[in-house]
Amino acid sequence: MEVEEVKLPGVGLRRDFACLNGRRVGVLSKKSGERQLIVYDDVDPDSVLVSVDMDADEASVLAELLGAPRVVERLNRLREQIEGLATAGIPISPESPFVERTLGDAEIRTRTGVSIVAVARRDGVELSPRPDFRFHAGDKVVVVGTDEGVKAADAILNPSS
């Protein structure tokens, strides 16, 4: 998903992307910490059709509704459909060699065949993280693959434990 990021001097940061159905949605993060959920007009894709102002609490509730449970829900459904599919949340321990290194560096997919579908951290969930995503200590890496693959991925991310 191509997320466009634009700085608004004096206001904050706007991130937006187009959904499959062509609708653009985005979030405006203001310097004051407030968030604005924005939905763009279909006819004039440059203009905002709906905007909802949210304080930090409301924004995190919305993020939770959209993000975290959906990942789990989707994984459970997958597990039911495909036999032998394993999923796990692998924590990045502070001793992990990949703290502050990128997802691409770990080469999990190449080395184990396992896919990293999300990374959960305290301030939110990164869905489908890109290769340049940087791990922090305490991140929870959600992976999908075979049983052996998941174990191998754990061994790569946390070799000491």
Partner: protein
């Protein structure tokens, strides 16, 4: 006797401030800027006005100067040095086009009026610079901060504010000495100071911030206002103009505490900025307004058209469609604080008609400006309906490791 004069001061000052409060309420109720109402109030209270009061001019004059410092300090606080440098790098062409397109009609106007170079330079700034205060409020009220043309609009405003940091010192020097070599020298000084401050802000912003920041709001407020006055005074002494000094201090302070500083000095700014607009009205002779009204209206009409030009260019550069470009132009129409600061700066050094022309110009554009985005909407809508684009195909690029494919 002493008691009587004190009583008179308080009664008049109280009446003026209370009246301004009513006007501000009225303005917010109808969703437009209070600036034109403050100006009208000043005109009404001044000599030759509808309700002339023996206004405490000395008090208002000092208050209005403090108002300028606080206005500029707050504008500077909005931007970080990184913001400014990044904008300069990406938006410079739009900024140059904006200044030329909107400033040159002012110069032409001054020439038509038979004015000298000081007035021509002043009119350049008066017609060029939009009111970032009015515009960001309008964009917020209309829920357009997320629009895709908005970064272009804000970029133009940033560059205009930055250009003022170079322009105001030059104008001060030209007004004082009627041009020549010292204007060139002051230009160089202004550019050097600007570069030095941007460098200090980029490198040592946190140090400057540590000087003023405190856990206690009282300590913070006193230190901040004190430092602002010191910097403004030093800047004035160095012929860089007090306003520019305050603006640069604001930039240097723009870090994570800017938001808190903002909240603390905002009420103070509101009081003194109101006094600043009233004082400008007080010092303008309303008797001269009717004579300059038609030329000022014509200039305002040109000023609206040229801002649409800026918006078109800025929007096009941002890859925005035609409706968005028109919206960007409509948003940029309001002029306000800077035009008045400029006219106040040249003051008596300029032709006596300059102040009433500016007053009329700002009155018109500060009233029409906030309405322009709403008024332009039907036009834009018809334009859009004429060429309804098909919904854009979704851009979907799969992440590197996606399970549900």
């Amino acid at each position: 006797m002493h008691l009587d004069s004190l009583a008179q001061l308080f009664l008049e000052l109280g009446a003026v401030l209370f009246g301004l409060g009513m006007l501000a309420r009225l303005a917010s109720r109808f969703g437009f800027s209070p600036i034109p109402l403050y100006l009208l109030a000043g005109l009404a209270f001044g000599s030759g006005g509808l309700l002339p009061i023996g206004a405490p001019r000395g008090f208002f004059e000092t208050g209005s100067q403090i108002g300028v410092i606080l206005l500029l300090l707050m504008i500077g606080l909005e931007y970080t040095a990184e913001d400014l440098v990044a904008n300069l790098r990406t938006q410079a062409p739009a900024g140059v086009i904006d200044l030329l397109l909107n400033g040159l009609p002012g110069v032409g106007f001054a020439l038509l009026m038979g004015w000298g170079p000081t007035e021509a330079l002043a009119m350049f700034g008066i017609t060029a610079v939009s009111s970032s205060g009015i515009i960001s409020k309008v964009l917020t009220d209309l829920g357009r901060l997320g629009n895709r043309e908005t970064p272009g609009v804000l970029g133009v405003l940033v560059l205009e504010d930055l250009a003022m940091a170079v322009y105001l010192p030059i104008l001060t020097e030209v007004a004082a000495s009627a041009g020549g070599l010292s204007a060139v020298a002051s230009t160089i000084i202004a550019l050097a100071v600007l570069a030095a401050v941007l460098f200090i802000a980029l490198r040592f912003g946190p140090v400057v911030t540590r000087i003023v920041v405190s856990r206690s709001n009282e300590v913070l407020l006193l230190r901040l206002i004190g430092l602002a006055m010191l910097v403004a005074g030093a800047a004035e002494a160095a012929h860089v103009s007090a306003a520019v000094g305050a603006f640069l201090l604001g930039i240097a302070l723009s870090t994570d505490v800017a938001e808190r500083i903002h909240r603390i000095i905002e009420p103070l700014r509101d009081i003194f900025a109101a006094m600043f607009f009233v004082f400008f009205g007080l010092s303008t002779d309303p008797g001269q307004l009717p004579g300059v009204l038609l030329p000022a209206l014509a200039l305002a009409a040109v000023g609206i058209a040229t801002k649409f030009g800026t918006g078109w260019v800025a929007g096009k550069r941002a890859g925005v469609g035609k409706p968005g470009r028109l919206r960007a132009g409509a948003a940029l129409v309001p002029r306000g604080e800077f035009s008045i600061i400029i006219a106040g700066l040249v003051g008596t050094a300029a032709a006596p008609e300059l102040e009433p022309v500016t007053a009329a110009y700002v009155l018109v554009l500060a009233i029409v400006g906030p309405l322009a985005p709403r008024l332009a909407e039907p036009l834009i809508r018809r334009f859009v309906l004429g060429r309804r684009p098909a919904p854009k195909p979704a851009v979907r690029e799969l992440g590197t490791e996606t399970p549900d494919a």
